[in-house]
């Protein structure tokens, strides 16, 4: 079934305590021109959408652990069904934490080594450009993007498996793409900033592409976050064609 670009519909899930939902909606609706709805987590129906984004914030106040309460929301059961249909499920920041706690993505996000909430622009190196949110990027390309988190230290006990399966999507790097300790803002294992599932249709990352999609918001005037959203749209188009 062929559909027009404009008929693609994406949902951004609103959890109590989410605070990047409106930014994400704004970028998709007004910058990328994609019909995007804000959907309360209990009411989300996957059949009405081509993809879903779990936004940043503090779902359920991050009580117990960031993401764990939201991971039990019915929205996550819907997300599991979407993945079976090869619809993209994307978690940004707190959304990434939710996806790891829901066991849709490997590993976990621990408190930053510095114990501080870190809010700054960083560089990411693209490690896998075959996924639902990196297919418009080049492998090894370095993008500008901000982070804003207290619990972003990626940890996994099966690193080798993740490497062999190409599940590492983004790594924190220098501007030149070097993976140094200084470029690692939070102590993440192997500088990992984002990972995907085996099927590469579920991706989580700590940085915020929705805050890097308009030149006015970027200290360097870059709009690299748009590549992220363009990739999602491209992935959906390929699936529908």
């Amino acid at each position: 079934m062929k559909r027009l670009n404009m008929s693609i519909r994406i949902a951004v899930i609103m959890f109590p305590g989410a605070n990047c939902d409106l930014d994400t909606i704004h970028v998709l609706n007004n910058v990328m021109n994609i019909q995007t709805d804000l959907v309360w987590h209990n009411y989300f129906k996957e059949s009405e959408y081509d993809g879903v984004i779990l936004p940043g914030g503090f779902a359920f106040g991050d009580y117990l652990r960031a993401g764990i309460i939201a991971a039990h929301s019915p929205a996550l059961d819907q997300a599991r069904m979407m993945l079976k249909d090869n619809k993209p499920v994307i978690g940004i920041c707190n959304g990434f934490q939710v996806l790891t706690e829901a066991n849709l993505l490997p590993g976990a996000l621990l408190q930053n080594n510095s114990l501080k909430f870190i809010c700054k622009w960083v560089n990411l190196r693209v490690e896998n450009n075959k996924t639902a949110c990196t297919n418009m990027m080049k492998r090894g390309e370095v993008i500008d993007i901000p982070i804003a988190h207290g619990e972003g230290r990626y940890f996994a006990d099966n690193l080798k498996e993740l490497e062999e399966n190409n599940q590492i999507v983004f790594k924190y790097s220098t501007e030149n793409g070097e993976l140094t300790e200084n470029a690692n803002p939070n102590g993440s294992l192997e500088n990992i900033a984002g990972v995907c599932n085996l099927e590469q249709n579920c991706i989580g990352l700590m940085p915020h592409p929705e805050r890097a999609s308009e030149a006015i918001l970027s200290p360097k005037g870059t709009i690299h976050g748009q590549l992220f959203f363009k990739s999602i749209i491209e992935f959906i188009k390929r699936r529908l064609s």
Binding site: A71, L110, L115
Partner: protein, 90 residues
């Protein structure tokens, strides 16, 4: 047998392979600097006290263990669960 109320205390702690910056900071930046250099390690964790209806102490412990596993009260990737004590409440 009638149900009774039990109090189960559990703690969730990072596995040894996952660094615990809270514990490290308490040890290095507070204790060691204030003369308690005999302290060689501090690990922090989360503490939960759960009141639960059960037929026996064993059942209370089993139910708490089961719910912690089923609902991922602790993250099996990074944390261990320890049951500290189970006692009948008055």
């Amino acid at each position: 047998m009638a149900h009774q109320e039990f109090e189960v205390e559990i703690t969730l702690m990072n596995k040894p392979a996952a660094r615990d910056p809270v514990g490290e900071t308490i040890q290095k930046d507070l204790l060691a600097k204030k003369g308690y250099d005999m302290v060689t390690n501090v690990r922090s964790g989360q503490f939960l006290r759960i009141n639960i209806q059960a037929l026996s102490q064993e059942e209370a412990k089993e139910t708490v263990t089961k719910m912690c596993n089923d609902l991922r009260i602790f993250n099996p990737v990074t944390q261990n669960l320890y049951i500290l004590k189970v006692k009948k409440t008055k």
